[in-house]
Symmetry: C2
Subunit: 199 residues, 2 copies
Amino acid sequence: MVATRDRILNTSSELFGRQGYAGTGMNEIVAKAEAALGSIYHFFPGGKDQICEVTIRISGRIYLELIEAVLDEAPDIVQGVDDFFSGAAAQVVATEYADACPIATIALEVASTNEDLRRATADVFASWLNAASQRLEHAGIAELQARQLAVFALSALEGAFVLSRAQRNIDAIDAAKSYVTAAIRESLPKARRPGRGVR
Amino acid sequence: MVATRDRILNTSSELFGRQGYAGTGMNEIVAKAEAALGSIYHFFPGGKDQICEVTIRISGRIYLELIEAVLDEAPDIVQGVDDFFSGAAAQVVATEYADACPIATIALEVASTNEDLRRATADVFASWLNAASQRLEHAGIAELQARQLAVFALSALEGAFVLSRAQRNIDAIDAAKSYVTAAIRESLPKARRPGRGVR
């Protein structure tokens, strides 16, 4: 039974991420997850909205763990952010421009139309921003500036995903990576800046 | 007759921009545009896909003219980009976080599902990037760097729109504005940098 629920969520996550909320029908989830419509309503009595909200929160947690892992494994914050953008670009290319941010498409669709789902996307973005801010602060950047840098880095990545998926190239992710890592490097206390050669 | 066609396009543009492609039904366009379904198919025999493509291209041209006007009216390119981000933030607030980029929601939805519409969004992004690059070059920045800066500026704005609409505040647009204008300023030849006091 757990396997069925997981299959439903994995399928939904992929479909919602790639084609959005409105473009993903329950029938498509049923067919792709090889689950009966009845079992979907057994696990998710709230239907599509409930599946979507659970999917947003689960994808959000998985992506949060990825952000934390990539930033924490790197020798310094500049390299960590560089690695994260590079990994994102590789994923976009590997999936032929299908998989970028798991929640951005839904976020734009529901921002003015579905308050519960909008709040779920806002919570997820907030969790990512907190993780990034904390690590920027830990690298020696003052709280307010760390926060602003995190917001800027996430904005640049999200927008680069929009352009990359539309234009089918990773120029935007590369450009965002250069300017974001440069801005972070310049915000670090001089004594804690990694050498240029590290990148 | 022209009035009906315009009414259909104005309505579609607003609906597609705010809630996306899949979330906007022909019936909703009919009702909001106060047009008969027959007259919609008279003007757009290709139905929803055709209306959406025309809408993408028209919204793209209107936004292009806005980019050109704001950048050309400002005393320098840094102030022009600053003004554009400020104007975008004001528009987002004035419409209660509904109207940001007219094509981003559709771009993410169709990137992996509708090749004609994807190409329309890519064409529009390319036209905006060309306008911005040209003006950055005109300000004295070398061609390749001007291009990369334009891609970065548009990415930062698009992503800031995603965060701002989801979080219902303009922190992301403000942060993007600071870092983008700083990056442009630093890319200008020293002799052509506007004084800090100008901003």
